[in-house]
C-alpha cells in the first residue's frame, strides 16, 4: 500500500538520527504584546522535521500551534508579536535572524504555506491562472509562457478536472475544495522543501476533506516534500501523521510517533484530549435513550417545506434563476427527542432550521405544538414561536458585543414581558449557575469570555423562555474538542431536566451519532435517508449516507483508510434556471420507519 510506504519512509527518516533534518526549530519562543504586557504564546519549542516526513502539530485554540507556523514563515502579526528567542534552521540558514527581504526569497520557494480559508487567501479579482503564474514568475526566471505551462501542470497535479479552462476562472467560481486545491497547487508549484498546512481542511466538508488529505499525501510522496500539518482534529492527525507534537498553552506536552501517541499516550493532557474526541460507535448508551413508543404526538411537524431564493439577472433584473435551497422536506420531532439534520455545506440543513425559526420565508407547512404557523396572526405566531429557540454556530458572532451578558440572557424574558425585574434577575442567576457559569459574571461583556463560555451563555439565553424545541445549528462545531464534549454533555443533561426537544444540525457525523435519537441526511435540499440513529449508522442504505460516514477520519492510526473513493464530478449546484425544477425524491420505508430515497 502506498500509504504504508510513506509511513515507513517517514519513520525511517525519523529513526536514523544521522540524517540531518530539513528544518530544525530549537528553543523557540514567541512573545505577544498585550494589554498586560508581553506574554509568551510559544515557549521553548524544539523539534526537527525530516525529509519526506509529515509532522502534525495538534492542540486546542490558544495552544500556540498557528503562531509556531507563522514564526517559521516569518509572518508573525506585526508589531504585536516577535520571536523572543531560539532558532529556526532551514538547512544552514537561521530564519529567525533573517531580514524581511531575505525571508521573502525563502517563502513560497523553499517553504510554502496553505491556510484554513482558501477564499480569503486567494485574490478575488485575479484569475486562478494569473495568480499561479505570478507566484511562479516571482521566484524563477521563467518566461510568462513557460510559467503558464508550469501553472497548468500544477493544476493537473492537484487533479483539477478540465485544468485549461479552470486557469481562466476566478476564485468565486470554484467550490471550497477546488479552491483549496488551487492553494495546494500554488504552494507546490515551486517544489518547496517544506510545506506548512495550517488547518487546511477545517473549512471543508468531510467528503472533500478526505479527498484533499489524500491528495496531500500523494503529492508528498511524489515530491518528497516535508509537511508540517497543523490541526485540532485528532482524526486528521491519525490519518496523516508520521510524528505528532501535542501542544498546550504554548508548550510541547508530548511528541512521538503517531502510533505511540494514540496507543500509549504518556501525558495526562494527551489522554484527556483523545478521550474527548467524538467517535462513531461511541455514542450514547441504550439506557438514556427514551422509548419512542411512549412518546406523545408530534411537537413540530414540517411538511413539504420549500425555500427558494430568486436570483436576478439579464436585462431589467428579471428573475432568471432560482436557488432551490430546500426542496420538499418533511419530518416531525416528538417531545424530548433529538433529531439531527446532517449533510454538507449547501445541502439546505441550516435553511431548514432558519425557516422553522422564522428567519426566512418558506412555502409548505410548519406546525409547532399543533398550530400551523401560516394560519396564525402575527401576534399568535410570536406566542407560538416562543416555544422554539435557536443556538447558533459561532458564539463569537451571535451575542451583541455591546450588551452585558446578563442583559442578553434577560432580553427574551423582557421582550415577552415575563416576570418583574427581581424575578428576572433571580431566574437568570439560576440559569447562569445551571449552565456552569457564576451569577456574578452577569455584569460582564461577551468579549470577556472564552468560546465555550459564550456558547453556554447562548444556551442559557435559549433556555430562558423554557422552549419546547431548541434548534442547535452547528452549535458545537466551532469549539475545541474538550469544550465540545462538555457542551454536548450539558445539552444532554438539560434535555433530561427541562424535557426540551433538539433539532441538531451538524456536518460532523461523530457528534451526531453521539447526541441523536433520529437522524435525517440531506443532500441538495432534499432528505435522502431518515431513521433512528442505529438504522442510519449501523445500516446506512443510501450511497450518500455511506459516503458521509466513511469520510469521517478515524482517530486511530492503525485504521487508516487506504483509498478514499473519489467523486469524479462536483456536487451539482442548487441554482437552477426558471422552469427547470429538480427531480423530487421519493422516500421508501425499508422497515421500522427507516426511510430511504429511491
Amino acid at each position: 500500500m502506498k500509504v504504508e510506504d510513506i509511513k515507513r519512509s517517514g519513520q525511517a527518516a525519523a529513526e536514523s538520527g544521522s540524517v540531518r533534518p530539513v528544518l530544525s526549530v530549537s528553543g523557540l519562543s514567541v512573545a505577544v504584546r498585550g494589554e498586560e504586557g508581553e506574554r509568551d504564546v510559544v515557549s521553548d519549542l524544539t523539534f526537527g522535521l525530516m525529509r519526506g516526513e509529515t509532522l502534525c502539530i495538534a492542540g486546542e485554540s490558544g495552544s500556540g500551534k498557528s503562531m509556531t507556523a507563522l514564526a517559521i514563515m516569518g509572518l508573525l502579526p506585526q508589531p504585536a508579536a516577535r520571536i523572543g528567542s531560539g532558532s529556526i534552521r532551514l538547512g544552514n540558514q537561521d530564519l529567525a535572524a533573517l531580514s524581511e527581504s531575505g525571508m521573502r526569497r525563502i517563502r513560497g520557494d523553499r517553504i510554502a504555506m496553505i491556510f484554513q480559508e482558501p477564499m480569503t487567501s486567494l485574490n478575488p479579482v485575479l484569475s486562478v491562472g494569473r495568480q499561479l503564474t505570478e507566484a511562479i514568475e516571482a521566484h524563477t526566471s521563467m518566461s510568462r509562457s513557460n510559467s503558464r505551462l508550469r501553472a497548468l501542470e500544477a493544476l493537473k497535479a492537484v487533479r483539477i478536472p478540465d485544468a485549461e479552462r479552470r486557469l481562466e476562472h476566478y476564485p468565486h467560481e470554484l467550490s471550497g475544495g477546488m479552491r483549496q486545491r488551487v492553494m495546494i497547487a500554488m504552494a507546490l508549484a515551486l517544489n518547496p522543501d517544506v510545506l506548512i498546512a495550517d488547518e487546511p481542511t477545517t473549512a471543508l466538508d468531510v467528503t472533500v476533506q478526505g479527498e484533499v488529505l489524500e491528495l496531500l499525501r500523494d503529492l508528498q510522496r511524489e515530491h518528497g516534500t516535508s509537511v508540517i500539518l497543523i490541526t485540532h482534529d485528532m482524526g486528521v492527525v491519525a490519518e496523516m501523521a508520521d510524528r505528532v507534537i501535542i501542544m498546550r498553552d504554548g508548550r510541547m506536552v508530548e511528541q512521538g510517533r503517531a502510533a505511540d501517541i494514540f496507543n500509549r499516550p504518556q501525558a495526562d493532557y494527551t489522554r484527556e484530549l483523545l478521550a474527548a474526541v467524538p467517535r462513531i460507535g461511541g455514542g450514547r448508551t441504550a439506557e438514556d435513550r427514551q422509548d419512542a413508543a411512549n412518546m406523545p404526538a408530534e411537537l413540530v411537524s414540517v411538511s413539504d417545506l420549500h425555500v427558494r431564493f430568486d436570483l436576478h439577472g439579464g436585462f431589467f433584473g428579471r428573475v432568471d434563476r432560482r436557488v432551490h435551497a430546500v426542496e420538499g422536506v418533511s419530518f416531525s420531532i416528538a417531545p424530548h427527542e433529538t433529531l439531527s439534520l446532517v449533510g454538507e455545506s449547501g445541502c439546505g440543513k441550516s435553511t431548514t432550521a432558519k425557516a422553522i425559526a422564522g428567519l426566512v420565508p418558506f412555502t409548505g407547512s410548519i406546525s409547532i405544538g399543533g398550530h400551523d404557523l401560516s394560519a396564525l396572526s402575527r401576534k399568535e405566531r410570536k406566542a407560538v414561536r416562543r416555544n422554539v429557540q435557536m443556538i447558533f454556530q459561532d458564539p463569537f458572532a451571535s451575542l451583541d458585543p455591546r450588551m452585558r451578558v446578563g442583559d442578553l440572557v434577560a432580553e427574551p424574558l423582557l421582550i415577552h414581558g415575563l416576570g418583574d425585574r427581581e424575578q428576572r434577575h433571580a431566574q437568570i442567576a439560576a440559569l447562569f449557575e445551571r449552565v456552569g457559569l457564576s451569577a456574578d459574571q452577569m455584569e460582564r461583556y461577551p468579549h470577556e469570555f472564552s468560546g465555550g463560555q459564550r456558547q453556554r451563555i447562548c444556551i442559557a439565553r435559549a433556555l430562558a423562555l423554557r422552549p419546547k424545541l431548541i434548534i442547535a445549528d452547528e452549535s458545537v462545531s466551532a469549539l475545541d474538542v474538550s469544550v465540545q464534549a462538555r457542551v454536548l454533555r450539558l445539552l444532554k443533561e438539560l434535555q433530561r431536566e427541562f424535557g426540551v426537544a433538539y433539532l441538531f444540525i451538524s456536518h460532523d457525523m461523530a457528534v451526531v451519532e453521539n447526541i441523536s435519537d433520529r437522524v435525517a441526511v440531506m443532500y441538495l435540499g432534499q432528505i435522502v435517508e431518515m431513521g433512528t440513529r442505529d438504522q442510519i449508522f449501523s445500516n446506512p442504505r443510501h450511497p450518500y449516507t455511506k459516503r458521509l460516514i466513511e469520510a469521517v477520519p478515524v482517530p486511530d492510526p492503525g485504521r487508516r483508510r487506504a483509498r478514499f473513493a473519489r467523486l469524479d464530478s462536483e456536487i451539482p449546484s442548487a441554482v437552477r434556471r426558471i422552469g427547470d425544477e429538480p427531480r423530487k425524491l421519493k422516500l421508501e420505508d425499508v422497515g421500522d420507519g427507516h426511510l430511504v430515497a429511491t
Binding site: 490558544g62 425559526a357 414561536r385 422554539v388 468579549h447 470577556e448 439565553r461
Partner: protein, 302 residues
C-alpha cells in the same frame, strides 16, 4: 481558532463596569476629552456672555477702527484681534457670531444627522420596497445641486436663522443616510441580529437597542465632519443673501466678507477660521472619547 493572540482572556478580577452612570466621570478622566469639553464650554460661554465680555457693539463701525488710509487694524492692545474692513471689532463680531454658528453647527447639523440616520437605518434594515424607495430618494437628493435646493427652499420660506438651519439640515442629511444605510445592511446580516429575531425581538428594539449602538462611531465622525461644512454652507447662503442677513455676524460670513483681502489683512480670515476648526476639533475629541467609552470591547485600551 478565531483569536490566537488573545485566547481565553476571561479578564478575571476586572471590575464589573457600570456603563451609563460612569460615562461622564470617565469622560472627565481623559485629558483630550477634557480639552474638547473645555473648548466647547469657552465657545458656549462666549456666545451667551458676549454683551458683557466686550465693550463694543458688533455692528458699530468705529472711527478709530481704521487707519488713516482706511485699512483695517491688525491685532493690538485696543482691538485684541484687530478690526475688519468696516472698522468693526473682530473679537466682538466673533463672540456674537458664535451664537449663529453654534446654532447652525449643532442644531442644523444635528437635525441632518437625525434625518440621515433614521432614513439610513430604516432603509438598511427593512430593504425591500421601503428601502429602495428611500434610497432612490436619497440618490435623487444627492444628484440635485445642494446650493440650488437651498436657494429654492430659502426663497419659498421667509429667511430667518432657524429657517436657514432647517434648510441646511434638509440639504445635508443625504451623505449620512448613504453611509448609515450601507453599515446597517451589513450589520443586519450579522448573526446576533438573527439571534435577536429568534427570541422574538421587535424591529424597533433591534434597530435602536442592537443596531444603533454599533453605528455610533460612524455617526460621531459624520457629526463632527458636518460642523465645519454646515458653518461654511451657512456663510455661502448668507453671501447669496438668503442666509443670516448682514450686518448680523456669523463665523462663516466673517470669512466670506474678508476673503479677498486675505493677503493684506490675514487675521480677518485666520481668527474665524481657527474658531471653526477649534469647534470641530473639540466635538471630534469629545466624540472620539465617547465612542471608546460606550464601546465595551474597547475598555481598558488606550
Amino acid at each position: 481558532m478565531t483569536n490566537p493572540i488573545a485566547p481565553e482572556l476571561s479578564a478575571a478580577g476586572r471590575m464589573p463596569a457600570k456603563p451609563r452612570a460612569g460615562v461622564w466621570r470617565r469622560l472627565l478622566k481623559r485629558p483630550l476629552a477634557l480639552l474638547g469639553l473645555g473648548i466647547i464650554a469657552v465657545v458656549l460661554a462666549g456666545a451667551i456672555l458676549a454683551p458683557w465680555l466686550t465693550g463694543y457693539d458688533p455692528n458699530e463701525q468705529m472711527f478709530d477702527g481704521l487707519t488713516l488710509e482706511g485699512a483695517p487694524l491688525p491685532p493690538g492692545a485696543q482691538f485684541w484681534l484687530g478690526t475688519d474692513l468696516l472698522g468693526r471689532d473682530l473679537l466682538t463680531r466673533l463672540l456674537f457670531g458664535a451664537r449663529t454658528s453654534l446654532i447652525i453647527g449643532i442644531v442644523a447639523n444635528g437635525v441632518a444627522l437625525l434625518i440621515g440616520t433614521l432614513v439610513g437605518i430604516t432603509a438598511g434594515y427593512f430593504r425591500g420596497w421601503i428601502g429602495s424607495a428611500l434610497m432612490r430618494f436619497t440618490d435623487l437628493m444627492m444628484a440635485f445641486p445642494a446650493l440650488l435646493l437651498a436657494i429654492c427652499l430659502a426663497a419659498v420660506l421667509q429667511p430667518s436663522l432657524w429657517i436657514v438651519a432647517m434648510v441646511i439640515a434638509l440639504v445635508n442629511w443625504v451623505q449620512t443616510a448613504r453611509v448609515i444605510y450601507t453599515e446597517t445592511s451589513s450589520l443586519s446580516e450579522r448573526e446576533f441580529i438573527d439571534a435577536e429575531r429568534t427570541i422574538g425581538a421587535s424591529a424597533p428594539r433591534i434597530l435602536f437597542r442592537h443596531i444603533l449602538p454599533h453605528l455610533l462611531p460612524t455617526i460621531i465622525v459624520w457629526g463632527t465632519l458636518g460642523i465645519s461644512t454646515t458653518v461654511l454652507l451657512e456663510a455661502t447662503l448668507s453671501y447669496l443673501g438668503i442666509g443670516v442677513q448682514p450686518p448680523t455676524a456669523s463665523w462663516g460670513n466673517i470669512i466670506f466678507e474678508n476673503q479677498t483681502y486675505f493677503q493684506a489683512a490675514p487675521w480677518l480670515v485666520f481668527f474665524p477660521g481657527a474658531a471653526i476648526l477649534a469647534l470641530a476639533l473639540a466635538f471630534n475629541l469629545v466624540g472620539d472619547a465617547l465612542r471608546d467609552i460606550l464601546d465595551p470591547t474597547q475598555r481598558g485600551r488606550a
